[in-house]
Amino acid sequence: MHEEIFDVVIIGGGPAGLAAAVSASDNGAARVLVIERDRELGGILQQCIHNGFGLHRFKEELTGPGYALRYIKMVEARSNITVMLDTMVLAVAADKTIVAVNSRDGMIKITAKAVIFTMGCRERTRGAIRIPGSRPAGVFTAGAAQRMVNMEGYLPGKKVVILGSGDIGLIMARRMSLEGTRVEAVLEIMAYSNGLTRNVVQCLEDYNIPLYLSHTILAVHGNGRVTGVTCAKVDAAMRPIAGTEFYLECDCLLLSVGLIPENELSRELGIEMDGRTSGPVVDQLRQTGLPGFFAAGNVVHVHDLVDFVSEEGEIAGKYAAWHANGKMGDCGCLITVKAANGVRTAVPQVIRAVSGNTEPVRLYMRVEKPEKNVTLAILSDGQVLLERKLRVAKPGEMIVVDLPVENIKKIGDDITVVLKH
């Protein structure tokens, strides 16, 4: 078997992986490898040809491929970063040996000192949410359709209904409209959209596409190709309300019904997972429960802005390089971060009190449901460590708060993040 040795091996060459590679290189890792299963670097950014990327990171508005290119150039500028494209990782062992495969080298055995998981996420499917009806052609996840339209140059349908108002669904509503395809409606089972507000405005309202909140699809119709869908309003418990059914004629149903972090490799290693994020439990250095294994980006928790994905990649890259160089030092004591009272997720789930570290801990949080005029509070032992007033809080928009290191010194075994009304 073809054998290679690297200091830091990064699995996945999307935005998290690219930032991790650059950061690992800049923080002293001698040999860095990025393994990417697609034919090019950039991950899902390459099919996101719309703009809106990079406002935080580069202070300008880039397209997805444009954003990716910035990082690809940074990777190319660093001679100690190796990239393997069209390469699939088959197995990762706890001793940090990785088995991968591609057409050029065949089976490859890679030995690493530190591993970073940046596999991103995949789309939830029709089968996962059990939409009844027939099984014709024309039912696609929105991301698969996006790839077909933007990268391969084909249309998935000519008269479209979209289920789910996540960002990809909203973006695809606009994209299909621009291609001359009629978008009949976007249906959302929740009473609010899960996408960014700017996407609801720019992708639906600007194109007069109706958004049916608290609605779902009861059945898909058609034999060869989709001919229509039966829709209905749902009650507060998300059960269809009898008598509200209506039929929408269409030849295509796009699904934007959630993203699932792709953690098959992490699970096989038995790494501890967070049931709410579906990603591994990580500390603020993005190290998982298994020393030397790091994770960043959508594989940890699904982000809405790529800028934060890159940021996490940078953190993971830096400390993976430290780990590879034996610079991590003592673990220090661990503080558990809990999300409660209206806060659904908080990442990192663990804070490691590292001696000499002066960096604030950046917490990424999502709320359970839309709220107005609330206070986000970080508590420990009944003490308030930090408070932030929020005029609006939406599940679709991640809340980012920096917890200064002085505050961390004050605290006990755990901290809790809550919403106060």
Partner: protein, 491 residues
């Protein structure tokens, strides 16, 4: 005029039954043609059923179902090796949750013994729970059948057809029979879009449409009533929720909703039973899915609902007489029925093949052995099942085996190309899926679907827009609308 040619035997229907008959006829020096109306084999009942190798204790003694079930079960053990079938003798459990049900199990055991099923055993609560720890705490006992098993029905049908073709049988897809010619009470041939095929013997293995095919030849002696069954399939990550097939105690109409592993490492629940008049209705329903969930939970309470990956429905081709209809037509000479093949039809299929050939012999068809008959199918390369050494060799010989197309199931481009160009090769995206498992995993083709479409287009030399999912009118993608903005890709 129209294209026309001659055959000794025409088989109508390329499901498991038609394919098994074709394979059996391949043992003789005959011109046999198998006609399938769809773009692929096994697209009817064969592709959507419980995929069970039944032990044979359900059907009443003396019925064709009982006889052919037990014989079929026996035949598959050898066929597994000859044809490389995916088949595991996991054993099956029929679970009782009260004493009345235990009485039914005792009856089933006696019936099974009369049918010739070996090794049947009533086990107590303890042993049932040891075998299947996830069973409901309410279990009081079970009937254990060591010869029950699981298999891959599409794979078996394909293997039968491939072996038949290898032994000289012709298989035609996209070839529906539009008319059967009958002169003076005898069949003389069939009309298809490809032309007229003259034949003195016609086998009706048309599944759900077998009554209509029979009527084309002037025989209205039976009716097929579709009975729909719905299923939910779960992610492999669920692991061995059950290791054997778990049936509830059966009712009069059906074997009930079961929880079973698949040969590919998934778990499924289903089927319910809904009588229908629509032979095209393969839609799942909210009510039906809720029904199978509720009933499966009675057997195995912790059904992992959040890990479902797909749902589907199949139609049982139930004949009005309740048993299989395997006989020469009483009304039209030369027509032989292999109809009404509902459960345990999958298990019975190879035995049905033997029986149909016997009937043809009785009708006067000369059965000269095909001395070149080769019972063995060449092995297929399944990349994910190879050891590292074999993987390296495969990639060295063909670099396409180094390119993973389906990430969930680790299927390579090499396997997909082989599936397209092998005997009875895939012509559709679902055809690739059923042969290679590309698209059968947890993302359900979200990632590999467009790539499989592109490979099919390239290998079949057709445009992307002509690639179909399963049936002729199931195109997946359209060209962009002229005048809209163009994006060029390097695919």
């Amino acid at each position: 005029m129209e294209n026309s040619w001659k055959a000794d035997v025409v088989i109508i229907g390329g499901g498991i039954v038609g394919a098994a008959i074709a394979r059996e006829l391949g043992k003789y020096k005959l011109d046999t043609v198998l006609l399938e109306r769809y773009p692929d084999l096994a697209m009817g009942t064969t592709k959507a059923n419980s995929a069970i190798l039944h032990a044979g204790f359900d059907a009443p003694e003396g019925s064709l179902k009982a006889l052919l079930n037990v014989r079929g079960n026996e035949l598959y053990r050898q066929l597994k090796h000859e044809l490389g079938l995916e088949l595991d003798l996991t054993g099956s459990l029929v679970v009782a949750t009260n004493n009345e049900e235990m009485d039914v199990l005792a009856e089933l055991k006696v019936r099974g013994q009369k049918n010739g099923v070996e090794g049947l055993k009533i086990i107590g609560r303890e042993e049932a729970l040891t075998r299947e720890p996830n069973l409901s705490a309410e279990v009081v006992g079970a009937l254990y059948a060591p010869t029950g098993g699981i298999m891959w029905p599409f794979g078996a049908a394909l293997a039968f057809a491939e072996n038949a073709v290898q032994n000289g049988v012709e298989v035609r897809i996209n070839c529906p029979v539009t008319k059967i010619e009958v002169i003076e009470g005898k069949v003389t041939g069939v009309y298809t879009p490809d032309g007229f095929i003259a034949a003195k013997y016609i086998i009706n293995a048309a599944g759900i449409e077998a009554d209509n095919v029979s009527r084309l030849a002037g025989d209205d002696s039976f009716t097929i009533k579709p009975r729909k069954g719905e299923y939910i399939l779960f992610d492999k990550a669920v692991g061995n929720l059950v290791k054997t097939i778990v049936f509830p105690t059966p009712s009069k109409v059906s074997k009930g909703i079961l929880v079973a592993p698949t040969v590919h490492g998934n778990v499924f629940i289903g089927p319910n039973a809904t009588d229908s008049d629509d032979k095209g209705d393969l839609a799942t329903t909210g009510r039906g899915l809720a029904e199978i969930v509720a009933r499966a939970q009675k057997l195995v309470p912790n059904i992992p609902l959040t890990s479902s990956i797909t749902q589907f429905a199949g139609l049982r081709a139930a004949a009005d007489c309740g048993d299989f209809v395997i006989r020469a037509s009483n009304l039209t000479k030369g027509l032989v029925h292999a109809a009404g093949i509902q459960s345990p039809g999958l298990t019975a299929a190879p035995a049905i093949g033997e029986m149909v050939v016997g009937i043809l012999g009785e009708l006067g068809l000369e059965l000269k052995p095909n001395t070149n008959f080769n019972p063995v199918n060449p092995p297929k390369l399944v990349f994910s099942q190879l050891d590292d050494e074999a993987k390296m060799t495969a990639i060295k010989e063909n670099p396409l085996y180094g390119r993973i197309i389906c990430r969930c199931e680790t299927v390579t481009e090499g396997e997909i190309v082989a599936a397209i160009h092998s005997l009875c090769g895939a012509r559709t995206v679902d055809g690739v899926k059923r042969r290679t498992r590309a698209g059968m995993g947890r993302c359900q083709g979200g990632f590999c679907g467009p790539r499989v479409t592109a490979i099919l287009a390239r290998e079949l030399n057709i445009p992307i827009t002509a690639v179909i999912k399963d049936t002729a009118d199931s195109q997946l993608f359209f060209n962009k609308i002229p005048g809209s903005c163009e994006v060029t890709g390097d695919a």
